[in-house]
Subunit: 124 residues, 4 copies
């Protein structure tokens, strides 16, 4: 299929609760960047995190192969550093080819089990 | 009414939990593509699914009549193959006439009853 | 303030559960069209509902005064007819001046208490 | 990083429940404006609130430093006046430089624990 989407996406909301169900990956509190690359060329994604009280951290880099989707958990980012829990952050994703990005959180704190999801803001 | 919307829509998020309430269609875990065709001509919709570790599957085809809405459950797609449960996927919907698409999930796993919904990304 | 937004908005998702908490307006199952008119002129809003198996119904008409917001419950629409419960529908809102529209559902069925919200699709 | 986004954002939905968990800031009912300033210049944000039955209130002003995010709770706004609870409102955010805005509510009323979030409408 032809490439679809934009090359820069922004998610102003970001927060991974440290609490919630443990030991069941599907249900632990997490945030996910859902990335779709419909085109014939691999997408090299560069992720930068922004915080309230210190400078940006990154880039984190991943590759989404041609005609594949990747649902990347922010919880799994490790290099250059893990995403701190219970901390406000925001995210910019940049790609060398057009992609589409959607952001989802599952919050499994016992008092607040909930899902949220929204298409990211397509900047470019 | 005149046609409204776009002819290609993208939903990067996709995941149907296998768990949840059984035997009550309204409350079983499901994902829905809500499609609105405001125009005077039937909309022929072609749906392609993308996965993390294999090539695209499709097209699935449906027709949304003129001046009608269809809330199509991904759970009900059968041809060319059912949508696998507990599996990350993404969706592209293409139409011969402009339509509007919104995506909703109801997750009725006992630990995580929740709703999410967002307008799909309008690519074209 | 100057007028802000668009004059046609589309919400492809629509569903009012008949079940849920009764007797507490804040918590009964409902859907809301949140309309903001930032401009100096009253906004005359015309609402048309679309269904899966019959023709469009409307217009429902409301006025959002200059520099006011109206959070209009679909549950409260009466003329030309109430919105059927437990029924898939979709909505087009048209305004004589630019407005911004967001759509929210509160689902208070005992098994599925949840909120969803998304900005509507701005068509014109 | 270069500036990203728009200079006027609109959130037609707004409602802070007075009920819910007390004494735990993370879990009390709240609404948040998540603002990201990716650029090299501080963003001066001016916030105006709209209501159903009285004129606009504001401006509330905050500064989001260069290359920082601010997750600003509507609950914390005090000047020129606090945001009333259990009251429909809507919000316009204006910035001197491009920013991205996302809106989130956490509703912790015992009967309705839920999250909602959506990217705001980018007007300019």
């Amino acid at each position: 299929m032809e490439p679809t989407g934009k090359t820069r996406w922004v998610i102003a909301e970001g927060y991974i609760p440290s609490g919630g169900i443990q030991g069941d990956r599907a249900l632990e509190s997490h945030e996910t960047f859902c990335i779709l690359n419909t085109g014939p060329e691999d997408a090299r994604i560069s992720i930068t995190l922004f915080f309230a009280d210190r400078g940006p951290v990154g880039p984190y880099t991943v590759t989404v192969p041609a005609e594949r989707t990747m649902h990347l958990r922010a919880n799994d980012l490790e290099d250059p550093e893990p995403v701190p829990r219970d901390t406000d952050y925001a995210t910019v994703l940049e790609s060398n080819v057009p992609v589409v990005v959607q952001h989802t959180r599952l919050d499994s704190r016992p008092e607040s089990f909930a899902l949220l999801s929204t298409v990211a803001y397509p900047a470019v």
